[in-house]
């Protein structure tokens, strides 16, 4: 039985809370967070030593965009796959909540968890000021906004892929391949197009470049918030959530 549209406001906070707190019952979440913070901290330390510049945060946040292609699949892989495998999804879809609520709450739960995972990295800015660095705070804030939007896009796609399979590993690998393709491969094809022997055969390079996640993160990394990038990320998020909803609905008629 699907929930009424008016219930969305009442059910969503409770469902989101359930999804968010569920992360803390699994040791996997702590393993992911530990490795993520270790990666981030080590990268920051190396970048700071190499660049000798307080703006190393800019490079770090851009680098984290790439690192998230590895970590976000680990966060999203279990979102629906696990419930499908354990059978709790059947209970959830027959409860008085709509598929839209399920999809959005899972998306928000994972987003909050990711935000919580990223939040400790703000300590790096404090560390910089403690050692007499003068980081560009505005640039860092814009970079965080970009990183969150990118992560939310990753989560939306990962959520959809998680809804397609009951196997968490398959979901993680498929999500990683998708994100890697849009972040790295498309970027490589468009960025290095001229040096490739087949560069003239690359179709619609402008469209391909537009679809490149990294290209939309660049402006944020410089301290610029561009409405085009916001619209792009919002589009990916909407598409991911919409596909997830349809994927959940399809269980009823497939």
């Amino acid at each position: 039985m699907a929930g009424r549209r008016g219930d969305l406001v009442t059910n969503l906070p409770a469902l989101t809370k359930r999804e968010f707190t569920a992360n803390f019952y699994s040791p996997m979440a702590y393993v992911i967070a530990t490795f993520y913070l270790l990666f981030a901290g080590l990268s920051f330390y190396i970048l700071l030593r190499d660049q000798r510049d307080a703006n190393a945060m800019r490079s770090l946040l851009t680098f984290l965009g790439f690192i998230h292609t590895i970590f976000i699949p680990m966060v999203t892989m279990r979102l629906i796959s696990e419930e499908r495998k354990s059978g709790t999804l059947e209970m959830l879809v027959t409860a008085p909540v709509s598929d839209t609520e399920i999809a959005i709450s899972k998306f928000l739960g994972a987003t909050l968890f990711t935000a919580l995972m990223i939040a400790p990295t703000t300590l790096f800015t404090w560390v910089l000021t403690r050692i007499n660095g003068r980081p560009d705070i505005g640039m860092i804030q814009a970079s965080y906004v970009g990183l969150m939007l990118l992560s939310m896009s990753y989560i939306a796609l990962g959520l959809f892929i998680s809804s397609l399979t009951a196997n968490q590993i398959v979901a993680a690998i498929l999500t990683f391949v998708t994100l890697f393709t849009f972040y790295f491969l498309v970027g490589f094809l468009t960025g290095s197009a001229e040096s490739l022997p087949f560069h003239e055969k690359i179709p619609w390079p402008d469209i391909l470049n537009y679809m490149h996640f990294g290209a939309h993160l660049q402006s944020f990394g410089k301290g610029l918030v561009d409405s085009r990038d916001v619209v792009y990320f919002a589009s990916v998020i909407s598409l991911g959530i919409f596909l997830t909803i349809k994927s959940l609905e399809s269980r009823r008629w497939r």
Binding site: A40, D50, R52, D136, R228, F242, W253
Partner: protein, 521 residues
């Protein structure tokens, strides 16, 4: 939570119907997404969150790019550079790249750009680059080529930025100390965008500074050729003023630069006629021993009628004089020349000087001062003091014999060093307002003796204002904030312990606590 309801049975037809509906919804969403993204690429906004608004272009640049975005013709900027082992270009190129991207974005892709390492062009070298990018001008390895159709302009990349080689950044590369890219790119695009150049008519016949003088102390040859003609795109034209017949029609701005011989009455009436028609005039005057026995009574009388009375004195301002290294015996010693000083104050409202910041350094050498009499200015015209010397400076009337202020003989500071006059003259026959700028120095602006003190901005801004190109007057080069950070051993340990050890450690501790609590429960 209630028990699961039995799943309804779906027939093939029903399934096909639902699948079609989902497909249709998907198509609609795809359509909305494509439309939203398409619209967003055409109508968008960018917010510059950086602390020093690094990427915010000046109003003049935005105005120009707005004009360019509506043009049919495209502009192309190709910046060539020769890589070096120190990475000297790294920070400068990054900044240039960011800037050019702003131009592309703001012009809605009418301005395309590329930064090319000459070494990477097939075959290598400048000639290969010239061929590949279809460049007809002679270029060097570090030149930036601006193209609009068949028209090309070339600027050296080094003019974009200042670097400091004695204070190295990472990997021994020099530090970026200033960035002047916007000023150069905008003025060059402005030059390319105009179909007819603005003509600066330099008067001749009164021992004025020569526009082809490449060696003299004023070095106006380099100034007028390199800066005014090549970079700013003005047409510099030496002219002779015919007595009483006005100024040649094609002249937009008349320039009288450092005259040492007086104008006759016929010439003065020609200049007056030009101004009565809404003409624009720039005057630079000189003072000092070489002018002592060369009075310009007619010309000074003409300026006096405008409310600007040049004085026969030389301005000395030791408090604002820079220390310069002078050879003494085997070594060098810092020394001040009282007659070479930086202007102490600028008018903060007039377009010519409004954008000079508090630290702006414009050098004057052997400057002449004026007494301004606002009530003597022609009716309908406003007289503004643009620049003055410090209150401890003075006008020395017995130079070089005396170089100490003498209250009974000399004129105490602050003294006016530059003035502007604008408005519609009474009885004016032109449609435009008349504009005049008088600057009490010809040498400091182009300065061939001490190039490090060369400060052409006062003259350049005056010309832009006179030529009605106020939008090209912009703020001084942005000085990037120094954010370099070389870690001491203690700082290194601090960063490592807090960032690499503390955070992951906390995550593990939190996880362990949760695990133990749950286990205990």
């Amino acid at each position: 939570m209630t028990a699961p309801a039995p799943a309804p049975q779906w027939g093939t037809k029903a399934r096909f119907g639902v699948a079609s509906a989902v497909g249709l919804q998907l198509l609609m969403l795809a359509g909305i997404i494509i439309a939203a993204n398409w619209i967003s690429t055409r109508r968008y906004r960018r917010w510059d969150w950086t602390d020093d608004v690094t990427y915010t272009l000046g109003d003049g640049t935005k105005q120009l790019l707005g004009k360019i975005s509506e043009e049919d013709k495209k502009y192309q900027i190709v910046a060539f550079y020769l890589p070096d082992e120190y990475g000297a270009w790294e920070s400068a190129l990054k900044r240039t790249q960011d800037l050019l991207e702003e131009y592309r974005t703001r012009s809605r892709d009418r301005v395309a750009w590329e930064i090319v390492s000459v070494a990477s062009v097939g075959g290598g070298g400048v000639q290969a680059a010239q061929k590949k990018y279809d460049i007809r001008s002679q270029i060097g390895a570090n030149d930036v080529v601006f193209k609009r159709g068949e028209t090309e302009r070339v600027v050296n990349l080094r003019e974009f930025f200042g670097q400091q080689w004695d204070d190295m950044g990472p990997r021994g590369a020099p530090k970026l100390t200033s960035f002047n890219g916007e000023a150069i790119v905008t003025s060059t695009l402005q030059v390319l965008s105009q179909d007819k150049p603005i003509v600066l008519g330099f008067t001749t016949g009164h021992e004025e500074v020569a526009t082809d003088d490449m060696k003299g102390p004023a070095e106006w040859g380099a100034f007028s050729n390199g800066l005014l003609r090549q970079r700013e795109g003005y047409q510099v034209q030496p002219i002779v003023i015919p007595a009483g017949a006005g100024v040649p029609q094609e002249v937009n701005v008349l320039v009288i630069a450092g005259p040492k011989r007086d104008f006759n009455e016929g010439e003065i009436s020609s200049i007056q006629l030009f101004l009565n028609r809404g003409g624009r005039l720039l005057v630079t005057l000189d003072s000092g021993p070489e002018m002592a026995d060369r009075p310009l009574p007619n010309f000074y009388k003409f300026l006096g009628a405008m409310g600007i009375n040049p004085q026969t004195l030389i301005v000395l301002d030791p408090d604002n004089a820079p220390e310069m290294l002078v050879r003494v015996g085997e070594g060098f010693q810092p020394k001040k020349d009282k007659g070479t000083f930086f202007i102490s104050g600028f008018d903060r409202k007039h377009a010519v000087t409004a954008k000079f910041d508090a630290d702006k350094q414009v050098a004057m050498i052997g400057a002449c001062a004026f007494f301004l009499e606002r009530e003597s200015a022609p009716e309908g015209m406003i007289l503004t003091e643009l620049a003055r010397c410090g209150s401890d400076g003075w006008g020395e009337k017995d130079y070089p014999q005396n170089q100490q202020m003498n209250a009974s003989r000399d004129e105490p500071g602050p003294l006016s060093l530059a003035a502007a006059l604008s408005g519609r003259m009474k009885g004016s026959t032109g449609d435009d307002e008349t504009r005049i700028v008088v600057i009490g120095d010809s040498t400091g602006q182009a300065n061939g003796i001490q190039p490090e003190l060369r400060s052409p901005d006062l003259v350049l801004n005056s010309i832009r204002w006179l030529a009605k190109q106020e939008y090209l007057i912009r703020v001084d080069p942005k000085v990037p904030e120094d954010r370099s950070l070389i870690l001491t051993k203690d700082q290194d340990s601090f960063v490592f312990s807090r960032c690499v050890l503390l955070l992951p450690g906390l995550a593990i501790a939190f996880g362990m606590t949760m695990f133990m609590t749950r286990r205990a429960a």
